[in-house]
Subunit: 216 residues, 2 copies
């Protein structure tokens, strides 16, 4: 495979990124950049490939204004180009797994019969877990998508700010997530940093390699 992207470019972009506090309200993502956001989420890996998630991308300013008070009035909610609300399924059940297996069989043009073993494996794994554990597990998969999104945004120079500090119930209500069968887990604001954001030039706080990476 011919590598078009250098490791040093990615590392440079990882150092360029930061949790953007102040977005430039005049700068919006282009359609091409929005496509990267969508594809980063859609193509994210998940356990068993189940994709037990949905992503709500909010561009509507009125809706952002409604959401803001339920996220500690953080300005990123209204000032970023888009707010991505990453959600897990409310309930992961047999019906969903069946739907996924059918989709997988269709995509790959294989007989449903040949996927039965895989379906049983997934259902078997689920049986050993409580509902709370399954929900936690789905939630973790959503965080993979969050990581993919932030890495890819950084790579192409899109700013982002992950936000855990928001009222999930209120977000679910305002965005009518029940109708989608999902519940919000974490938010990521995407857009472009304001020239006034003093956090942009602050030194990144990270432990040294020796402190967090152990080689064996």
């Amino acid at each position: 495979m011919f590598m078009v992207i250098n490791t040093s470019e990615i590392i440079k972009q990882l150092n360029w990124r930061y949790a953007t506090k102040e977005f430039d309200t005049s700068k919006k993502l282009s359609n091409e950049q929005l496509e990267l956001v969508f594809e980063s989420l859609r193509l994210s890996p998940s356990s068993f490939g189940l994709q037990a998630w949905k992503f709500v991308v909010v561009s509507d300013q009125k809706l952002k204004v409604k959401l803001k008070p339920h996220a500690w009035n953080q300005s990123q909610i209204t000032d970023a180009s888009q707010i991505v609300v990453l959600c897990r399924l409310e309930n992961l059940d047999k019906t969903y797994v069946k739907k996924y297996i059918e989709h997988a069989a269709n995509t790959r043009g294989v007989h449903l019969e040949n996927m039965k073993g895989y379906e049983q494996m997934i259902l078997g794994g689920m049986k050993t877990k409580s509902e709370g554990e399954i929900n936690e597990w789905m939630s973790k998969q959503v965080y993979i998508a969050l990581g993919m999104l932030m890495a890819n945004c950084a790579a192409v120079g899109i700013d982002a700010c992950p936000i855990e500090g928001f009222d999930k119930k209120k977000f679910d209500e305002i965005l009518e997530l029940k109708t989608l069968g999902v519940t919000s887990q974490v938010v990521c604001a995407v857009g472009f940093r304001s020239n006034n954001d003093k956090y942009a030039s602050m030194k990144k706080v990270r432990f040294d390699k020796e402190d967090i990476i152990t080689l064996k």
Copy 2:
């Protein structure tokens, strides 16, 4: 900011990546590529910037052989160039938060006194959570790092396979993670796909954009 990486290159790489089942045992990551792995993990964002994690990167073949039976004998464990074991702290306590705050103050050259408010905010947030909830929250941050790692590996053409199916207790024991004060959460094998991996050419199974992305 001058963009060196195109969104289309990233999307191409997202489609190129897949959960590699069979690694080429003769191909190892270069030092430059290993550096990307380290920096992807180290520079990952985490809630409050706390970095309540450590990452164990296993290259030693004997150790990989010992781990394999505790991961359903998946060949990736022994055949990949490296096994990254992503861990959270065993316990997140006041002492750790204090250490982080001191490190942040040192890094940014600010007086510790000026960081007290931030420290109190973190501790306040922790107080509202049970130990189990704090552990779950740390675990989710680890999954952000997993997502960042997989996205960045894909971008530069490094293959990867995320692995949740392993015995955490056994991995903790074999890797002596207690001495590091951490516990394993998820594994990611990194290396290069074998030409024989039939999964490499299979069509990626993903739901359509319309099914998982809602625009508002």
